[in-house]
Symmetry: C2
Subunit: 409 residues, 2 copies
């Protein structure tokens, strides 16, 4: 273990002092685990990033308000899957308040120290009877080993759990970062992904922590898209608690935070509804990073690009067409495009390339991908500026249509 | 025939003095018609609206520049399908110039009086040898009855021709409007649709005509979306030529123009790649029409809404989630939503409704739809303002994925 961040185990409960759990509370019709709890140490601070949707759920309103009132001094977050508790009228807020009150009572905390996140079907209220009678077994089962159970209980149509844990030696001291997330559909975060949580066992001032979290969110959760739809419940909560970390190591810490959030963000894109691969679009040569990011995300959102990748089609024309509508000016004559090792365009003109080999490259990435480390990657150069932006997404398959047309009502 | 606009025949050549044609020039591999020509009378003016894409094709650059230089005084437009002539480097402009020069010579016009529109595969240059040797037979075949042939020759993956012709009595005088369009994929016009053309046999000042065309485009071509992808070649050209129309009848004329452009725009949405129905989203109650339009278009672009419609799922949650991310503030508590005759939400809360009947309503619209007049229509009220906006789109089907993943390279 040295100053570079290495992978570890335990997920969200890897950092010292954090406990978690996940149980079956009878909220999901499937009977799968559907209620999770994360408990942070006494000195914890939390930075929250929430959906910008006008139609955001009551639990988001409540959690955002409490974080602001308490300047990040909160202790616990209750997470239910099954019902999003969005568009449920006044009941939405009432239920969110009741649930956090019951949990706060049981934990000996103030209601204001407890947050709540919900995910699932929009318009359905939470089955409060089942939730309330599950508070006691939930608290009883809290443990240092509960990260896996929590990561499972927050899932909806996700195929796999999404966890991360990293550790590094910062100034002779072991620092851990843990995280978990859920995604699947309605993924095009405006401020955060559907649900993601991060823990870290260092003491940092709230202002510095907020600034750091804001920066890493921009290049992780806000850089992914599955289907262009921003959810009503998107929330990312990042907790820090522990002995103070010297300022000299804050940059190193941010490297770890970026690594952890990008890992979770890519895991969400990879497990997008119907996805068969992770798509990475890198854009360089703009005057600012923001501009590059905007072009990258527009390309990553294009149905035509996504279907081309699904069909193993090295269709550079769709990439250029999507880049052109991103709202960022660039000179078509200086465009260069690479698909993995294959150069498809230079000086704005298509090159002759081995189309079959390029197509096989996409095919190969896909076969070995889905839950492994491979990806289909395009790199687009649009000028000589120093701007760099990366976006992650996935292909668009028949399966996406089936999941969203045939199997839901 | 009276002052209300009635449907007529002949399409683009219905208005007096306009000639058209469409032939096989050997540009399409399929051997289908692929070269069209529209010739306007001597006194014609033309207003052009073009794609805002940074990656726009050379033919768009050339046509836009000529229209501006000549303040709309142009006479002819050459339209080829098969090759978009976008991203073809310097050759793009050279070929566009050569093609229009050859046509101008044959017609006895200045090159600057001839425009060119291309549609088809991006990155492929036009087969100039075939195009140039087709100029003579093209001009020879020009006729008053050539509207159908032209409307056919501009198509790519479209399943049907898209034509309109309207006539009305304005101040004791017969006025005709004709039009044709092509669409299919990469449809999310920023300023105009892929390719659309309109003719009208009245004399109007260029300034008034431009202003009128701009207004009707905003509520027709710019109100549709098939897949969120703005094309490199989108162009709309509207010609007017004939005896001057009294100012008193300009409003009546604009009603006809709106009717004609909305007809073509809806025909494009209805024939979107893989579409099985036309989707109409009406939004009311915002403070301005623009705000309502933005919400309507965001809903119409949502993959989740589009797949729900495809699956006959009256999924109001996805409508509200999409509305929430449109960037327009509204009060969730005042939201009301109708699907055809079914009220799904009131005061921001879901209502109990007959889900099966609502699903059957969508199914029934779809069965009788595609190329007929039916549509699946949602009306969303978000407040008490006077703003109104309508957007048109289509459902998202497995067939869209197949067309764009399996059948193209």
């Amino acid at each position: 273990m040295d100053s570079s961040w290495a992978s570890s185990s335990l997920g969200i409960t890897m950092p010292k002092g954090f406990l978690a759990t996940g149980i079956r509370a009878g909220l999901k019709a499937s009977g799968k685990p559907d209620l999770a709890l994360l408990l942070a140490p006494e000195d914890a601070i939390c930075s929250g990033t929430f959906t910008r949707s006008v139609s955001r759920a009551a639990c988001v309103d409540l959690s955002a308000a409490r974080l602001q009132e308490r300047a990040g001094k909160v202790r616990a977050v209750l997470i239910n899957s099954g019902q999003a508790n969005a568009c449920t009228g006044d009941l939405g807020l009432i239920d969110s308040q009741r649930a956090t009150e019951a949990l706060a009572d049981r934990l000996g905390l103030l209601s204001e120290e407890v947050l709540i996140c919900s995910t699932g079907i929009i318009g359905e209220p939470i089955d409060m009877q089942n939730l309330l009678k599950s508070i006691d077994p939930l608290v009883v089962s809290l443990s240092r080993q509960g990260g896996d159970a929590a990561a499972t209980a927050i899932l909806t149509t996700d195929l796999v759990e999404k966890q991360v844990s990293l550790e590094a030696d910062l100034g002779g001291r072991r620092v851990c970062i843990g995280g978990m997330a859920k995604g699947s559909g309605m993924i095009h975060p405006e401020m955060a992904t559907m649900l993601a949580f991060l823990t870290c066992d260092v003491g940092v001032s709230f202002d510095k922590w907020e600034a750091m979290v804001k920066r890493v969110v921009a290049n992780s959760f806000n850089a992914i898209t599955v289907d262009g739809d921003t959810s009503t419940n998107d929330s990312f909560l990042a907790f820090a608690a522990g002995d103070p970390l010297e300022d000299a190591y804050l940059d190193d810490l941010e490297v770890g935070l970026r690594k952890a959030t990008q890992h979770l963000a890519k895991a969400i894109a990879r497990d997008g509804e119907g996805a068969t691969c992770l798509l990475e679009i890198k854009v360089i040569g703009t005057s600012s990073d923001n501009e590059a990011q905007q072009i990258a995300r527009t390309i990553c959102s294009s149905s035509l690009v996504k279907t081309a990748v699904h069909g193993h089609d090295p269709n550079w024309g769709r990439i250029i067409a999507a880049a052109g509508r991103a709202g960022i000016p660039f000179c078509l004559e200086s465009v260069e495009l690479l698909l993995g090792p294959y150069k498809l365009m230079a000086a704005g003109k298509p090159l002759k390339f081995d189309r079959e080999a390029a197509s096989n490259y996409i095919k190969k990435c896909k076969i070995s991908d889905k839950f492994f480390n491979n990806k289909v990657d395009f790199c687009l150069k649009v000028g000589d500026g120093s701007g760099l932006g990366i976006a992650w997404g996935c292909d668009l398959s028949d399966q996406y249509i089936r999941i969203n047309a045939d199997y839901t009502t």
